[in-house]
Symmetry: C2
Amino acid sequence: MTGVGGFSPDLFDDVAFNDQGLVPAIAQQHDTGEVLMVAWMNREAITESLGTGRACYWSRSRAALWRKGKTSGQVQALVELRLDCDGDAVLLLVDQTGVACHTGRRSCFFRAVRDGQLTTIAEVVTDPAELYAD
Amino acid sequence: MTGVGGFSPDLFDDVAFNDQGLVPAIAQQHDTGEVLMVAWMNREAITESLGTGRACYWSRSRAALWRKGKTSGQVQALVELRLDCDGDAVLLLVDQTGVACHTGRRSCFFRAVRDGQLTTIAEVVTDPAELYAD
């Protein structure tokens, strides 16, 4: 778990949050390279993710911290947090337990334009009813 | 080049553009899985990318279409366009010529939090002065 467990607050000098105090964050499975999802982070979500070693986002719909997997158990262990050249996007290398998508698919990017049509290209791995049983 | 060269405009029924008419777009090298950059696309950028088979974004700073590589030659051939579960993020699988980053590095995500500090983890491959000579 490189870089997890505390960090210099100077980090935030280099993060270009938008006018809502957010940056888009991409979660990528650290060993396979699969892009799992895109969400948003604020300063608090970054602090918590680096402090706990588990990905935490900001839910824009709920206007609250979103501790990924808290309900579903599908947590993301944080392997490394990266920042892009202009500081306005974050890449999280994670180790995803189970599935990242609320539809029960491994990745949220399960639709592709093929032969001109939006096509489902990945199967449901876990029944969402199991993920959100409680 | 799957899915490139025309598409049904119904696609846009499934894209959840923000109030500026944009969605974040991640460019990923199709064979290695490397995340190269994050940019933004509007309807026109998606149409052009799928039509021409080359990644085209929307530059928020210039408020204009950004035909990636037009100046630098570092074009991205579009292999596949994917959409996430709620339609508010796009994943472009591309074949990147040269480097994606304006700093001359392969990926824009060349900084990582390691030992608590933001650390440069990738070297400059091509001198930016060469990329933007004209």
